[in-house]
Symmetry: C3
Subunit: 313 residues, 3 copies
């Protein structure tokens, strides 16, 4: 089975901005679909002999293991540092550029997580081998946005044209939704309903992109049925008054009752982990896609790893 490579060569994956071309997204998700359907034994031949380095300067077991799983399922191998902040040469004062150039003599590709915004780009510039940004602080986490979009398209008929998507929860600090809206607004005629407490509204910078926006204070204020509910966690650390937090959080919980806002063929999504934002009674609903999202993440990451490595000698 053949997996097509993108027409314009991608060397690194640093930002969601690299994917604001609908044709490129289409190619990526076609590759993802192919990988999903490919028999295990065949997939294991794709990246034989290839070595991935997962270098995490802050822990994120879920993201790290997702990339490692993608690599192993395609026959590759992995070297890993999950506490690069304390165990690496960084503690001795080495620059990220030197660390990356060193790893470039070991591995064929690097997946980097770092708490500081902009580090992924610095790393990519210094690197002789491909770098994938697995989150750099308040910056980007492009593969999360891509797997979210893939999941939406998979269940909403392959396009978002004419769809209504409600983003629920913390829209001020949530890196995930900021990256996602960049991709959603590539489609024509998308309606986005922002459901958040006034303190956690989406920053204007993300809203002025010529889409139909609506802003409401809670789920009961959503007066129409939507195609997708994308729910995020409201972190209690954002509130000084914990009583305020507790009362407020209740208004954004998805349960059997609040679910009536969703169309019968819609989807419920969440980047996980959840802490009560979606009641477990919802898990059995056929529209609940948050565990499928996780699995889709593996296939999207496979496609990206394959793209970046396939045309190397």
């Amino acid at each position: 089975m053949h997996i097509a490579l993108p027409e314009n060569h991608l060397k690194h994956i640093v930002s969601t901005d690299q994917f604001t071309d609908l044709h490129l997204l289409k190619q990526l998700f076609q590759a993802t679909d192919r990988l999903r359907r490919m028999p295990d034994v065949e997939r294991l031949e794709l990246l034989r002999h290839k070595l991935l380095a997962t270098i995490f300067y802050e822990p994120s077991t879920r993201t790290r293991l997702s990339f490692e799983t993608a690599m192993y399922r395609m026959g590759g191998q992995v070297i890993s540092s999950e506490n690069a902040d304390i165990s690496s040469s960084t503690t001795k004062g080495e620059t990220i550029e030197d660390t990356i150039r060193t790893l470039g003599t070991y591995a064929d590709i690097i997946v980097l997580r770092h708490p500081e915004q902009g580090t992924a780009e610095k790393a990519a510039k210094a690197s002789l081998i491909p770098v994938i940004n697995a989150g750099d602080g308040a910056g980007e986490h492009p593969t999360q946005a891509l797997l979210d979009l893939y999941t939406l398209l998979r269940h909403l008929g392959g396009s978002l044209n004419g769809k209504t998507i409600a983003l629920v929860g913390d829209l001020l600090y949530g890196r995930t939704v900021h990256s996602l809206v960049k991709l959603l607004t590539l489609y024509e005629n998308v309606r986005i309903i922002l459901v958040s407490p006034p303190q956690l509204r989406m920053p204007p910078a993300y809203k002025h992109i010529g889409v139909t926006w609506e802003e409401v204070d809670n789920l009961t204020a959503v007066k129409e049925q939507v195609d997708a509910l994308y729910v995020t966690r409201i972190q209690k650390e954002r509130f000084q008054n914990q009583a305020t937090y507790k009362k407020l959080q209740q208004n954004y919980v998805i349960n059997k009752k609040t679910l009536k806002v969703l169309k019968s063929d819609g989807v419920i999504m969440h980047p996980l982990p959840r802490v009560g934002e979606i009641a477990t009674e919802v898990d059995a609903d056929p529209r609940a896609m948050y565990f499928e999202q996780i699995q889709n993440g593996i296939f999207v990451r496979m496609a990206l790893l394959y793209w970046l490595l396939a045309n190397k000698p």
Copy 2:
């Protein structure tokens, strides 16, 4: 070489209680023997394409590496989190059920270690893929009991009928001996001699199973020769008075002198690590089986991994 599967399908390995059927144990140890004798190259084909997730919420390098070794020796791959307590989504408040369902989209099988009793069972209930309990606090560590029994049977003629086994050390808190006695007492006519300080006697709950028990205060009080000495560590943390601990501990040390209590064809066992309970002068004794126990653990774990994975598509 063919490895027979159990007649009754095992989905998870959570408790020693799942192995209180002598026929099942016999099948398991036959599979273990086959794996031990199988040429390396052949064994490497058994679990090709399979992926194990070792998720440890408290460190136990020995147990983790034993399972990982078993997986690699059968051709599988491993993703791992050895500090899942601090690096995973658990710190953000995720339930163990959500963590397990997430991992179920990554791996084909999970080995779980957790400090809280009952977690393995919770995990197994939530999981779509097999879960093996690698210790849950004061609860169970079934693979340890199974490798102990396998080692005993291997050196005592394939059955414990009519055998005398001395359990030495901390019999009050030692999870290992509690699980082991459950299995020992499956055999007819087993005599068990409990050798411990009065403060660290085996709890009655474990003794009332219709076996011949004897309870003595120290090794010199054992008046007959035994077939097996199973020695465990007396942890100094159990004693407020460290002088008491030091004096007391001496009475349970296996050395050339105290070894006269063991038959010439008997075995000395210990779950390791030891901290002086068995003098190093004993290591060269042909009856010393504590390092072989470790190795047997790999083969028993191979058999279990194979059983749980073999009839998956």
Copy 3:
């Protein structure tokens, strides 16, 4: 492609002293060259089925990943404990000998890092499988010295006879340069220029080996052009007065200006990480070999892993 084994069997790699035979070094570097030129696919067959245990009692991500890369690139597998000091049985009081014997039932070869001098030798004595010392405190780090020598020979025409090598920086505490001089002084007619502050001079023990030594206080005092500059880090922790440190450190920085001390066909080396000792403006100089050193380390380690494992059944 055939890789010759050494005439005298090596069981463990504990000390640079095992490599004070020029013939053995020649054989090792021939094997290294073969591995460097070998096609990936062929190299992957060399250590199939073999399992390496990397056991690190102090973090050193760079060294650990270098060995792991070497193993994976030859088709082997790896089990790993990168925090063996806190996560292993050592915390319960187990001896290094017991830990090593346990690991010997898991893996085919052990790479050990430990903060205490002499531990590698203890481990090797207790071990039934090969042990490689990846650094034991103030003791040895033999593979670093070997990769340094390999890099020098590769660029200085295959021998050091008649060459002048400047060692720059902290020559008092630097384990790296102490091991390296042992190997440098095996060659006839080597001139060594020691460039260090008076407080950080090389200890006499390393200098009395019948070579031509010269000792100067800083780079500008080097009056001839040298074949190699081997630069090490001056750790600020060595100085009570940080102003003294800052002023002093300036005198040992390699930049375009101080580089005039190096011949046009010479080499600049550094064990990395660097913290300003070599200005980044030097990186593009064709004589800069510090990143190649890192890569050479992988090939030298491959050769050693292969030697130690190749004649095992």
